[in-house]
Subunit: 267 residues, 2 copies
């Protein structure tokens, strides 16, 4: 049974996911190239931020995108249709019990999905079940333990710790990136290869400061405010200090880094 | 006035620096290519771990390698001679007051040096002084804030915090990597470009587990034990728990990541 999606389903979150999909698309999709004619499962497509990229970058592949949230799925479907992309089919489904036969798919793609699951190993085994031998798996996850601001600021680390705690209360793991390799291997996948991808912003890379430090990460944190404060994981002044630290890292003499983990494997 | 070299001058440290120079040489030297005929300053050559690589990778450039420690310099000189490398000259000198004319050099290289200085900005300005306009600067630094073990272990983070504290007591900054870009820029260098380089080890990369997680990072931490314990920054059981955590991350289902920052710039 999947938990609540910790980032929420708001319009702001939808917008944030688009900014994130843009600036991070190179990292996320570099290895997500599937052979022409492939039938590929996108497990946990959410509002379709990555689905659009997948469908555009693999015009000769066919995608079946599933999500547990009917609401997200409706948004994803609308967006994919608006883009005129004809190679995506949507299904309302639970990653833990996929409505597909064994070995139906030639590939699978999962982006920012495993972090939200109580048993990501079981979900990966279910994904593996519906893949044919030799099928390619691409996954991409973050790790909040990699938050690296300059100037360093304990208030940021307290805020991130509270966000990690919130996600764990909802049975997720915001620090799953470092576990991606052992997870893929223990699901019985072969030829596992995990690469860290650092998103890094400094004054010489203003587009990363704007679109990554501020529009992706700071905004992602901002969306957790209600959850963190309502559960008493931080006080309001503590929260404000953390957000102030993030904005400080986006100043002319600041820097910010965050590491994602991109995994590929075969059934 | 430079402080004490926090890693010490032991034979173990010399050996560790060699292991580190080997596994990390791609990261460290990828951009450290100097035009034939260049005269290049290596500021803070230590026992010559990088000097050998520099001289081998740039056989048509000439290097002047300086260090504040006469003892390290003697080891470096011996090693470079033993390798039969004829394009390195050694000088006993202080990076804060270089015994060179303005604009004497066509390039500069600094690796794991700024982290040990009380005023890295002033040292960079002095390096800049001896460079001709257009000269290339290559620098490489780590950042202990990027230590990312799996399984995660608070004992490791306590140990790393103590090591960071020890280095700060000796006027250094073990978390300088994130500051490299603003430091290079504030020294008046142009075309600054800083790239994060993640060293990452998991069971699919056994040479990284052995040579990086264990022989480079765990060994670097181990060499701090006396300093940390004698200053009471950790208890012995706390220290042992941290080291145990590091060895745990090197097991079959563990992972370990650490991020370096590679900066290039021009005078």
């Amino acid at each position: 049974m999947p938990g609540v999606y910790v980032h929420g389903y708001s319009a702001e979150e939808s917008e944030r996911l688009n900014a994130q999909a843009g600036i991070l698309s190179g990292f996320i999709h570099e290895k997500a190239i599937f052979a022409p004619g492939s039938r590929v499962l996108e497990a946990g497509c959410g509002v379709g931020a990555q689905t659009i990229q997948l469908a555009q970058r693999n015009p000769e592949a066919e995608f079946v995108a599933i999500d547990y949230s009917a609401e997200s799925l409706a948004i994803a479907r609308e967006r994919v249709q608006a883009m005129g992309l004809g190679n995506v089919e949507f299904r309302h489904a639970d990653i833990h019990a996929l409505p597909f036969e064994d070995a139906e798919f030639d590939g699978a793609f999962l982006c920012f999905v495993l972090e939200h699951l109580a048993a990501p190993d079981e979900a990966l085994q279910e994904v593996r079940r519906v893949l044919r031998p030799g099928a390619k798996v691409c996954s991409f996850e973050g790790d909040h333990g990699t938050v690296l601001p300059s100037p360093d600021d304990p208030a940021i680390h307290r805020m991130v710790a509270a966000i990690v705690r919130l996600q764990s209360l909802e049975s997720g793991d915001a620090c799953i990136g470092r576990r991606l390799c052992p997870l893929l291997r223990s699901a019985g996948l072969r030829n596992v290869n995990v690469e860290p991808c650092v998103a890094y912003a400094d004054a010489t890379r203003p587009q990363w400061v704007e679109q990554f430090t501020l529009a992706t990460i700071t905004e992602m944190f901002a969306l957790q405010e209600t959850g963190v404060l309502s559960r008493g994981l931080l006080s309001e002044p503590e929260w404000r200090a953390g957000m102030k630290g993030m904005r400080r890292a986006a100043c002319e003499d600041g820097t910010f880094a965050y590491t994602f983990f991109r995994g590929t494997a075969e059934r």
